[in-house]
Symmetry: C2
Subunit: 511 residues, 2 copies
Amino acid sequence: MNGAESLIQTARTAGVEVCFANPGTTEMPLVAALDSVPGIRAVLGVFEGVCTGAADGYARMTGRPALTLLHLGPGFANGIANLHNARRARSPVVNLIGDQASWHLAADAPLTSDIASLARPVGWVREVPTARDASAAMAEALERAQGPPGQVATLVLPADAQWEDAKGPTPVARERERRAPDEGRLDEIAGETREGTTVVLLGGDGLGEAGLRAAHRLAAATGWAVLLETFSARVERGAGLPAFPGLPYFPEQASEALAGADQILLAGAAAPVAFFGYPGGRSALEPEGCALLPLSGPGDDTAAALEGLADVLGAAPAPGVPARPAPEPARGALNPATLGVTLAALQPENAILVDEAATTGTGYAPFAWNAPRHTALGLTGGAIGQGLPCATGAAIACPDRPVIAFQADGSGLYTLQALWTQAREGLDVTTIICANRAYRILQVELARAGIAEPGPNARALTDLSSPVIDWVAAASAFGVSAESVDTAEAFAASFQRALAEPGPHLIEAVL
Amino acid sequence: MNGAESLIQTARTAGVEVCFANPGTTEMPLVAALDSVPGIRAVLGVFEGVCTGAADGYARMTGRPALTLLHLGPGFANGIANLHNARRARSPVVNLIGDQASWHLAADAPLTSDIASLARPVGWVREVPTARDASAAMAEALERAQGPPGQVATLVLPADAQWEDAKGPTPVARERERRAPDEGRLDEIAGETREGTTVVLLGGDGLGEAGLRAAHRLAAATGWAVLLETFSARVERGAGLPAFPGLPYFPEQASEALAGADQILLAGAAAPVAFFGYPGGRSALEPEGCALLPLSGPGDDTAAALEGLADVLGAAPAPGVPARPAPEPARGALNPATLGVTLAALQPENAILVDEAATTGTGYAPFAWNAPRHTALGLTGGAIGQGLPCATGAAIACPDRPVIAFQADGSGLYTLQALWTQAREGLDVTTIICANRAYRILQVELARAGIAEPGPNARALTDLSSPVIDWVAAASAFGVSAESVDTAEAFAASFQRALAEPGPHLIEAVL
């Protein structure tokens, strides 16, 4: 058994089932080990950002890590953007990166670089010195990755640490239990929220069904407002579930939503901060003097924490959730509003909706909670190019659930190679490209920066209309059947066809 | 004048003409400054690897830096792979990366990350503290980038260091002169090469016309063999120039090419090392006991060094270069050999040939020096996805020269978004996709690793045939007209059509 085999067997024994890979020469022993140690499915991405984004999507849906297998520093670098999103989602992901043989590092061959320096910004890193260290390093990486909270863990594996003889596999410790605050802390919080206005900011694992229902119970008993964090890794959403508004994206609007709060109860969510700083602005979104009360952190059991607090406050069981009107498909020209309501009306029960729709998503948001029950995966880290890979990984994780990639066109271009993996693996993903042919958010930001009349360079850097990108051709290049639509009726028909047929489809929704 | 304007004016005054950009919100003051300080052309890439690879190609052709403008850590990360190639090419490139406002960093907003840790592996990095430091930092970055030798220089610019008030521009010091060894050193080398067998390894700036002619003179006078470094940033090549073989890629073959050498004269080239280490192998490629004699480093004037040595040795002027037979187009099915010779036969005089053809390139290599005179740009750092962006930047740098991107299909998929920039800017680039529908080099490496019968995972991770990628559709998606061919005759006709028409074209050469 060589180092690569001991590592793969450690992962397999711990329950790892999938490896999203784009390997090269320095990973060949690991590639061979994926066959000699059976049981892990290797899924090829033809660009590393596909692999890392897919691992993130897989982790969000299963709660368990997938492996990625990437080639040296440059190959890993191509995967960093989506690992940044995974880091912010607290997704468990384990990256395996081959490096030059240990005795070859000093030669500074062309592909040699400082991989650890690249990997540190996205999480935990370990450089594995010898083959005999490989299985223990794998076990530690899995433990680090699974948390809770989950994180990105990276192993840098010199080629000789893969091909030399090694010990057998290393057992992996069981995942630690998620914590909930004890009664003393709950009593404290009850005291701290007795007076003034309390707002609950719900996030992280609190956005599952149990967390939402606990927040509903608490809110009904106390009258507290509940807001959801702006960008969530995963939220259960739609008909039958209690609905709450999200904290708005732009800082002025977010501050307005929090105005009047005397204390903000952080339930699985981090303290609310602006996505970007603006001249004359500030980082915090809560009013001056508002207290932040941490109830549960991202790795904690937020549903239990909320139920515990409700108990301490003597809250009654949660009341029923009032039925909300189902959205109706729109008619006429496509725009964010007609596209959004039609999607919400027609999306199937139990879908996974990967939302990287950016500005177009504002048309869907008002209907998101009225749509059929679904799981939504969001752009946690703001690194665009997350949607198509994340949808790919979610579909690998949940082959029995329809996956919808609701995708901005500019962002989608970053990692469109994910379509090929969807076709190769026959994944049931329907991609909706919101083709507004601009980096619209940047046009908004230019206006916010007071640039009413952008000059030629500013216009050139925010426009995608010259030439127009033909997404039907792009999908077809990668083996995905596609249609272009520009009315709500045509979108509805195309969407329903795509859902009815197995395998991946793409709809270019021209706005 | 704000920090962004002082920085852009510093660059403009120093002669910077192009900025390859994919900015976001934290770069808006720099975007605005590209209009308020006129004279720098902003070229949008819809993926950051396009921007950085284009800056590398531009630098190789002009010897001067372009700017890149990239968005925070994740945006920069998408550009690292091609910056790795630029680093190995010693290309002057200056990256501008917006960061969160300095007062907003501690809030750890979603897009915040350690940008410097990401940037250090590719070169020099400076975090700019305030707007008043921006112009001096720009001046230093330009000086660092231009060398010689050239390098990648990165400025991390908090948003407030762009929007706050600043001083005026900072003058940039002139580029330092390239050095050549003095007579004492040349006498030493003459002594050290008096006995035994000397091989000249020519690289770096020694691969221009002057360096090749100097090496020819020296070789004619001494009988020394001349080998070219395996992967060159830029080499002048073709009819009328002295021709030399390259050092082979695989270490066994490279060692064989150097067998019998008692000393290797390093003329602009680094010491020869294996691209990868293999079990039982070694890093060095020269025979045991062979001396390495540094004549000139990568930032030195290698042509002058070689001429100086020839003078010291009393060499006669260089003899004429014997005419070599021009390649003839092939007939019949396309394979690496028929494609290679037909390309060499039909490529126009004075072309720029960006070579990321990988294994297919072996069919072209025997004819490369018999082809019409051209400039070849190679894959210096082994980070694939370099070809299409590099061709894009070369075409921006040299609008009057035809550019040929000779491109492996697997590698081309990494950064195919470059085609859009070619269409948008109307660049005269002809891309030839070598469609063997596999990561062929990895299949070779699996066989080299003794895996005669790869298992299902190893096969899956090296195969690109299911589904086949339709490059004609991919080009059309990005506004580039394209054809697919599978015979040498059809390739010849398509290639000649593409050359005759302005603007970008793509030919899928099915092998």
